[in-house]
């Protein structure tokens, strides 16, 4: 539980990555960085495909990457902002994350990319943005970036 001394996960603490072919497929895949036992289960309850496994409400969620259809039901409701939809398409990486800051992001916006430690790791472009009012003001945004960055980038701010 070293991550509780720092506030971020190191490489060896991350959940297993989805297989490459799943990431390269047409649909994004949910990647959940929620390692701690806390009483929370909306992601599990929101998944219509039984792709999220939990033994009980305190069990950390595990994604069955084969079952995940990338429907984004879980990322809409995650109170911990701990779910990231990952995809690689035509050599470019795409991360979808929850965004709750002003100004709201719009398609085409350029954003700074940050890793789990809050270090700036590059720049990306918003390729899709769910309007905040469509999801009780948690915007979902998809950011295009270098494909190597999709396991790194966990936050964005508007440039």
């Amino acid at each position: 539980m070293k991550y509780l001394e720092r506030g971020y996960l190191e490489a060896d603490e991350l959940p297993p990555f989805p297989p490459e072919e799943r990431i390269n497929s047409k649909k994004p895949v949910a990647y959940i960085e929620c390692p701690q036992s806390i009483p929370c289960s909306p992601c599990y309850e929101s998944c219509r495909f039984n792709a999220i496994e939990m033994e009980n409400i305190n069990d950390p969620p595990k994604v069955d990457y084969e079952k995940c259809t990338g429907c984004m039901a879980c990322i809409r409701v995650c109170p911990g902002l701990a779910i990231f939809m990952l995809q690689v398409k035509e050599g470019r990486g795409y991360v979808t994350l929850q965004y709750e800051f002003l100004p709201w992001l719009e398609k085409g916006d350029r954003v700074r990319l940050y890793n789990r430690r809050g270090e700036e790791v590059g720049e990306g472009v918003v390729t899709w943005a769910l309007k905040p009012e469509r999801n009780d003001r948690t915007q979902l945004v998809t950011i295009e970036m270098d494909k190597d960055l999709i396991f790194e980038v966990r936050a964005v701010r508007k440039r």
Partner: protein, 524 residues
């Protein structure tokens, strides 16, 4: 410093009015408290302290800390954080010459305890009667806090006595839930809350809640407050009293002041105490400087009134409150310099920590705040590393640039009313301090007096809602309402709460609860 826009909250401001602070006009909006309006106008020094004449400012925002007391329209000692602005209101600072900002007696802070250490009012000037009597007179002038009264409040007052089945004190998650479930089965309910809104601390919770879907997980705290209130309003057997401060329980009579003008006496068969908690304070150098706030105070300022607390904050405490507050500050466009945590690990949920860490906020575990510094308000802070015995490691001190400090080091149950009814109490650290013994249905050692929520032990809002449900149903059942259906729901509710607490985060609570189990015959 007023927020014009916010990603989560819409601020609906009332009509613009003018209030006068030490004679100077200040713009304010109806619906704002005097303290909030003054803060928005940049006022930081609200009062001067009793002995040292140190500057004191906005602090708790819930009428507890006494730092914001001023003379309002000629009446002394008004807690300005609990009084709403009115056009033309005259507000003056107290215990200072000429005013709190420029108090000539501030010199006392430098010298008074070198010449007049604590207790010397008893020990000095005793030998000569003349000198003693003269000194006693002078001391009297220096003591005393508020200005002598200059006018009588111009308010139409009244008295009301009501009888009810269940009186519920506190309209936060626990109280709302207790009210809903007692009313659902037919009990007549009076719900009292000191604020002009229901929901208690929920209305500061802009984040989505944890738990399961049936606990409304994934929904923002502010919305949960609305949902609960709407649910409650379905029932006609509920009498909701907002802006009603319960000040005592005398026998089984609950006494309250409604809208600062009515004395209310509620004769109740059952009482649910759901008064919540107070924020703990922390002892460090200059912990009283304006700009050192309780986390809740800042949340009130920012999320209720839409006022920025400052430009750059330091957060002390990495429990969920500290972590969530950090995120909320950033949402309001305020920088957070760092979070310090005395424990070797982050206290709150990892996901809350990760949210702010990835936005660049450093979290210093095994660190503490050593001091705040500044002339009349916080201009910076010093933090330092702690060793295994919680002592500061010399040389590890580090200066942090910030203009405010939020203390988020936990809560203490607001237990006063439990002492009024003479409930058996116990000191249980796992539950945050002095808490009542209770049955599995949340009834205290005093028959018909229940507890729910933080006053029973510091926990999450979700647990508070579940406790309220249990207390509400049990109160209704013991009054003869509900029948088998209610009994069935009661057992389900108890089971539901047990499951909720089954994880590692519930361990501490369960361990604490085991220490205050009340074995008494419970009728259902």
């Amino acid at each position: 410093m007023r927020l014009e826009s916010h990603p989560i909250v819409d601020f609906e401001r009332g009509k613009e009015v003018t209030i006068y602070f030490n004679g100077k006009p200040i713009k304010a909006y109806e619906g704002e408290t005097v303290a909030a309006a003054l803060y928005a106008a940049g006022v930081r020094v609200f009062s001067r302290s009793f002995r040292f004449h140190r500057p004191r400012g906005f602090f708790c925002a819930i009428g507890k800390c006494s730092q914001c007391m001023m003379e309002v329209d000629g009446v002394p000692n008004i807690r300005t954080c609990k009084v709403y602005v009115r056009d033309g209101m005259q507000i003056r600072t107290q215990n200072s010459k000429p005013d709190a900002e420029n108090d000539a007696l501030a010199i006392f802070d430098k010298i008074i305890d070198t010449v007049f250490p604590h207790g010397s009012h008893y020990k000095k000037f005793n030998k000569s009667r003349k000198v003693r009597e003269f000194a006693t007179k002078q001391m009297r002038k220096l003591a005393g806090f508020g200005n002598p009264p200059k006018s009588i409040p111009d308010i139409e007052t009244s008295y009301e006595e009501i009888e009810t089945d269940v009186a519920i004190i506190g309209g936060g998650p626990a109280g709302l839930s207790a009210a809903i479930h007692a009313a659902k089965y037919g009990a007549k309910v009076v719900l009292m809350d000191e604020n002009n809104y229901l929901g208690g601390q929920l209305i500061k919770q802009t984040h989505r809640f944890f738990g399961s879907a049936r606990h409304r997980a994934g929904t923002r705290g502010i919305r949960i407050a609305q949902i609960l209130e709407e649910e409650l309003r379905q029932y006609e057997n509920v009498d909701i009293r907002k802006e009603t401060k319960v000040f005592g329980i005398y026998g089984k009579d609950v006494a309250a002041v409604q809208k600062d003008s009515k004395l209310l006496r509620v004769k109740a068969k059952k009482i649910v105490i759901a008064t919540g908690a107070y924020e703990r304070t922390l002892i460090f150098e200059n912990n009283d400087l304006p700009g050192v706030y309780g986390a809740g105070g800042v949340q009130t300022l920012m999320n209720v009134y839409g006022i920025k607390p400052g430009n750059k904050g330091l957060i002390v405490g990495s429990g969920n409150v500290g972590l969530i507050l950090t995120y909320q500050l950033m949402q309001a466009g305020v920088d957070v310099a760092a979070i310090v945590e005395a424990m070797p690990r982050i206290g709150g949920y990892f996901v809350h920590a990760a949210k702010v860490r990835r936005l660049g906020v450093p979290i210093y575990t095994r660190h503490t705040i050593v001091k705040a510094f500044g002339e009349k308000k916080v201009e910076g802070a010093v933090i330092a590393q702690l060793d295994d015995r919680w002592q500061v490691i010399p040389g590890s001190e580090k200066e942090i640039e910030c203009d405010f400090i939020c203390v988020a080091v936990g809560l203490s149950p607001a237990h006063e009313l439990l002492y009024h009814v003479n409930a058996q109490m116990k000191f249980v650290p796992e539950l945050g301090g002095l808490v009542p013994l209770r049955t599995r249905y949340n009834e205290t050692s005093v028959d018909g007096v229940y507890v729910a929520g933080d006053v029973a032990g510091i926990e999450e809002a979700t647990a508070a809602i579940m406790e309220g449900r249990i207390a509400g149903i049990h109160a209704a059942i013991t009054l003869g309402y509900g029948g088998d259906e209610a009994k069935k729901e009661l057992e389900e509710a108890v089971k539901d709460l047990e499951d909720f607490r089954a994880g590692p985060f519930g361990e501490r609570i369960v361990c604490g609860l085991e220490k205050c189990v009340l074995e008494k015959e419970v009728m259902i």
